[in-house]
Symmetry: C2
Amino acid sequence: MDGRTVGVLGAGQLGRMFVEAASRLNVKVLLLDSGTVSPAKQINYQPHDPSSSTSISQHVDGSFSDPDKIIELAKRVDVLTVEIEHVDAMQLQRVLDQGLVKAVHPLPSTILVIQDKYEQKIHLQLHNIPVADFLPIDDSLAASVQTAAEHFGYPLMLKSRTQAYDGKGNYVVKSEGDISAAVQALGGGKRKLYAERWAPFVKEVAVMVVRSASGIVRSYPAVETIHKDNICHTVFAPLRHSDANVPEQARAIAEMAVATFGGAGIFGVEMFLMPDGALIINEIAPRPHNSGHYTIEACETSQYENHLRAILDLPLGSTALKVPSAAMLNLLGLADLEKDAEALKKTYLPAHVSLGIPGATTHLYGKAGCRKGRKMGHITIVGQSDAEVAQRLLPLQRSLDFATQAVESNRPLPSDAVARFSLSSTPGPATSKSAADFKHAHPLVGIIMGSDSDLPVMLPAAEILKKFNVPFELTIVSAHRTPDRMREYARSAPARGLRVVIAGAGGAAHLPGMVAAQTALPVIGVPVKGSTLDGVDSLHSIVQMPRGIPVATVAINNSTNAALLAIRILAASDPKYLAAMQQYMDDMENEVLVKVEKLSELGWDYLSRK
Amino acid sequence: MDGRTVGVLGAGQLGRMFVEAASRLNVKVLLLDSGTVSPAKQINYQPHDPSSSTSISQHVDGSFSDPDKIIELAKRVDVLTVEIEHVDAMQLQRVLDQGLVKAVHPLPSTILVIQDKYEQKIHLQLHNIPVADFLPIDDSLAASVQTAAEHFGYPLMLKSRTQAYDGKGNYVVKSEGDISAAVQALGGGKRKLYAERWAPFVKEVAVMVVRSASGIVRSYPAVETIHKDNICHTVFAPLRHSDANVPEQARAIAEMAVATFGGAGIFGVEMFLMPDGALIINEIAPRPHNSGHYTIEACETSQYENHLRAILDLPLGSTALKVPSAAMLNLLGLADLEKDAEALKKTYLPAHVSLGIPGATTHLYGKAGCRKGRKMGHITIVGQSDAEVAQRLLPLQRSLDFATQAVESNRPLPSDAVARFSLSSTPGPATSKSAADFKHAHPLVGIIMGSDSDLPVMLPAAEILKKFNVPFELTIVSAHRTPDRMREYARSAPARGLRVVIAGAGGAAHLPGMVAAQTALPVIGVPVKGSTLDGVDSLHSIVQMPRGIPVATVAINNSTNAALLAIRILAASDPKYLAAMQQYMDDMENEVLVKVEKLSELGWDYLSRK
């Protein structure tokens, strides 16, 4: 873009996706890693410069922890960065001090603090950032762990301070009897350790934060991360929670944490959400992060491009989601190629299945071999709602389970393996009134009413939503008998992913208006006809809202129209529902035209002659 | 993905973006083009294979019209494709016939037909695809053009049959006096020509269509293309038109046209929209196309990935938009580097400005030099509405105009050139009631009423929308006095990009219901109080809609609530409006709390003591 060249320590998948972003802005990237076919080098041809004495490529072939190679790379670039924090940070400081490069981002001092998890925790604690309680383990080892156990109780986490990632270097000490095995597993005294209070979290949350050299921080939406065997397995964006403050709080804590570090770049902040709604930071990575892969397809600027912009001191890009919902599934090597000749084929099964899934984008990293647990690729799914993303994810998850079983049972994949998993083969909504009908895991519409006596009037709404395949929930919320439940329902609605609330009420009919007063979402009111006044009482109670808080009121007892209105509201932004509603209207027109035909054929008295 | 290698004739920007898509799926691509630093080769490092005798790279260095080089490439790959149609199609047929590759897509026969525009038109006409009237020009040249003029009148288009693109090879013959100059300009008899009836189009439309080897065709949304000096300048997706059939018709015609060709791949179909709403095909490109660049950021699968999938006979990806609105701006070289040392800097000005624009993604192609008119890059903008995209595009267009003027006046760019163009420096909504307030070019909400006598009741709705910065339009539509206008308004609403209609009506109050009967969008009804019955007549007329067609009814005369409901409807899908509505509600709460404070301080009679 402006002629500057960036050097990266490491050329794996993070480097590869960084190179992709840099190529788009025509920023030249030189990589330091062993071999010429590492993932990032594959997509970045650096032609031989005849005037230099270097060979084929201007990349540097060698280990990113080799001090001489770091110097070699530094001499060829303007700015140095890393795709991994386990680098020789002291050497990075030296090349910076010697003026071999104009800048190193993240700062070597930041890398030094972060790569020692104990130092990282001390740093965060000093800055009043919430972390789990922790204690150092001294050379007495077992005795020191016992001291920690006296403070924290069991289970406690024993952790290696350095070179720990993807769960490697962690040990859960469940009782005093585990201590010696734990110490042994973590290097038997060769590596420095620390102890951490066990965090009985309810969810794992991550936030990517980009920091400019001048200290501006911008966070991406909070996401939920699902780990399996300590490795990131699935990511859901954005994080849903019944308390709308939780996602915002996660971003605020992540921004505060990243603001404490100098230098520029992107940071991945992993957190635990505790049962009481509190958030504590687990760890921070000073680089693009697995939990931020989804940003490539789902956000206005990807984590990789924002890292590039940050380290080049260009304006930071927008971190907003550009789609309503996204998920990311990691493709981890299912087996070693030496043990299972089909290891790669089985690992890639979800990738092949993904080609049939709308909104799925597959990234394969071009890694040479296949090892169990190795990150081989990932699949991002975007959609117009959580429900759509969840449905699109299902065939991928099922094919992954299938491939995993094929590895475990040492069976080859059947030739129709891909065809077995498609969107159409995943079950649609049940035709019976099963719980799945009205307790969808990712509802867009909530139908509520004050009492089960309103059910006969409100059920047609549920039937319509089912007919249009709209994910919804149906429950009882009474304004007068459960005011706290109503408040909780209304306040949590947007954070849970709801987009419309339909509320039915009779008589004094306060429910729709009181829900509308406590949520920013559109609320549709259905006046339910009581035994007196023909429902006019409910109608006026619902429609005559004061200026400031609207309720979208439909005809008395007409919950059908409430559901149709809810679908029209979804249709305002989702062409799928717009087309379905247009079709519904066309069908109604045709039904009437059939009756026109019938009447003209059979005569005006055809009804009485039936 | 499955070990197959693709060869591409040409390695420019289209090849570059194709390589990007292929890398993501780990499909190896070898390129045939001159030089080692062409745009596509830069992002695709093919390491030297020590066992072969070829040099540094496995790409082929040479012209894509060199038959020997085509053979050389064919021998190294499984499937051949092109990034440009001006290739040696006969040679492609030969390498296919000789079994040097498993497949060539698009088919050489398709390329042959398409690269001769006259043959292309004959082909389309034979398949009943609408095209402008055309006639061949024989060797008599001027006489033959005169014959064509007798059929078509003046002006007429004189076109070169081959090697014509970006307006090169076209000549507008305005009168008989132009003929000899036109013939001279188009090769003076060395190139074959044909004549076409002048098409006084109102818009240029393009549709990308992907075709699988088995003949499945899938079209992307129709887009509007703006050409300047015959080169694509800006693209807007999706195409908006008051007649919802036009975009669908454009897709249908494009799909029909592409279905007539054998083989697989992506096709760009350029069309003219005529004053009567008819669409005729201008030309077809058998490859990724400038009008489809927006698909990278805006669609579920990009045109490049779908081209790859098609030619490898993998399942086609979804062509749906994943964002509500997008635009693309080409970065064409503003001057030759030899004539203006700042040519590149000036050309890239909008790229630098784009870094400050949310939703903008910049692609720079890494071309070595800068020539006037050369495609150097492009910027795609996505947003939650046409209005948002248009607003984000504005600083880019202005900076482009500024850079163009700097070239024309041969002035250097000022040092603050980038800073001059930002979203915040573009004017917001005018504070006076200017036309821009209620005749927004890209409205999301339409406010209508039966008569200007309803204006006093309906204006608060406009004020609220203005306060929330929601693009809207306000006009008079009467159900009883202008039923045709009402029908037109309702039917065109979704195709014009509207998401909500607010309709105010008094007395019999048919307008909201009759609009709702003719659009699938949500319609909000405001009962306007008349001189009798206190507005209850209007309320009942609006709210008591029959099953099937809902109207969201608000309180009598309460157009404020209608606008707030409209914003809540937008908020259901756009977090920006959700946050604004929550803020509005918080502010209302605070206002009341201030009064609570005041009353408790001043006593219950403070109002009367004022």
